[in-house]
């Protein structure tokens, strides 16, 4: 059963994730996102973006990295072999673009258990780091995992 004392925990900003053009192209191809703004700089700039635009679910790559701080902590008792992804939500304050340096603050919003089933909800607040050290909100990623108990 997932450790309920982790609810409400906040993890400080992790090391920056540098969003690269080839990573955006690779991810877009993997999900079949064919829109030229993911692949072609001229097309992206034509839509007013400074660089290639990430697909709507690209933030999962950044979020997963932050969530690992919690999920891989043995004290959290999240048995990954019993985890089923239940829900995901992306709120984009602005699109992620190549060249962004993203840092993520991870929140464990809730940890609940009913019988042998645990549900955990994490929230990643993703910010772009400016050259002056400022932070601009980019995306909020809320992820809910279900963890089946040993006897189910």
């Amino acid at each position: 059963m997932a450790n309920p004392t982790f609810a409400g925990r906040e993890y400080p900003a992790d090391s920056p994730y540098s969003v690269g053009r080839e990573k955006i192209r690779e991810f877009a191809s993997a999900v079949g996102a064919a829109h030229p703004a993911h692949h072609d700089l001229v097309a992206a700039r034509g839509l007013g973006y400074p660089d290639l635009v990430a697909p709507a679910t690209f933030a999962v790559v950044v979020a997963q990295r932050a969530e690992a701080q919690y999920i891989q902590d043995p004290e959290a008792a999240v048995d990954f072999s019993r985890v089923v992804h239940a829900e995901e939500r992306f709120t984009h304050h602005r699109p992620i673009v190549a060249g962004d340096e993203l840092v993520t603050v991870l929140h464990v919003d809730s940890v609940t258990s009913r019988g042998s089933l645990s549900m955990v909800t994490t929230r990643c607040e993703i910010f772009a780091q400016g050259e002056n050290g400022g932070r601009e909100p980019v995306s909020t990623v809320v992820s809910t995992l279900a963890i089946r108990g040993e006897d189910s």
């Binding site: 079949g32 709507a56 679910t57 999962v60 997963q64 939500r89 984009h92």
Partner: protein, 146 residues
């Protein structure tokens, strides 16, 4: 109606119930491996039959995030601007088993579910099915339009 390349939907022309389009997404094992690499999600239930069986699955299943990430292309292409998708959510209600060899065909239909003229947004709900059964629930994309 389905938007053609070069035409951009205008909020004032939309009505709740309009179908923005339909699409079939073919998932095979190579797509799963490719998504694993691109996303960094290397959970073996998405590429190893023996492991998937050992945790009670019928076999390798697609990443829920691959299905979610693939079906939104319909909305991005319709909007004409991938950055117009300002909010996107889904529930993973049923796994999509991916055979070897072969493909799993996921069907998606997008429908205008709500229009907020003041906010300049339309909500597109996606019906996502495999084998006639829903595999994602509450699949909603909020799109900013002119």
């Amino acid at each position: 109606m389905t938007a053609q390349t070069g035409t951009t939907p205008v909020l004032a022309d939309l009505a709740v119930g309009d179908v923005i389009g339909t699409r079939t997404i073919e998932l095979d094992r190579s797509r799963l491996v490719r998504y694993a690499g691109a996303s960094g999600d290397f959970n073996p239930i998405h590429w190893n039959d023996a492991y998937a069986g050992s945790v009670g699955l019928p076999g390798v299943i697609a990443h829920g995030m691959l299905t979610m990430g693939s079906v939104i292309g319909l909305v991005e292409d319709w909007a004409g601007d991938p950055g117009a998708v300002v909010d996107y959510q889904a529930r993973f209600t049923r796994p999509v088993p991916v055979p070897n060899p072969g493909t799993a065909a996921v069907e998606v239909t997008g429908t205008i579910a709500a229009i907020d003229a003041e906010a300049g947004t339309a909500r597109v709900d996606l019906a996502v099915t495999f084998d006639g059964q829903k595999v994602l629930g509450k699949v909603q994309a909020l799109v900013r339009l002119a």
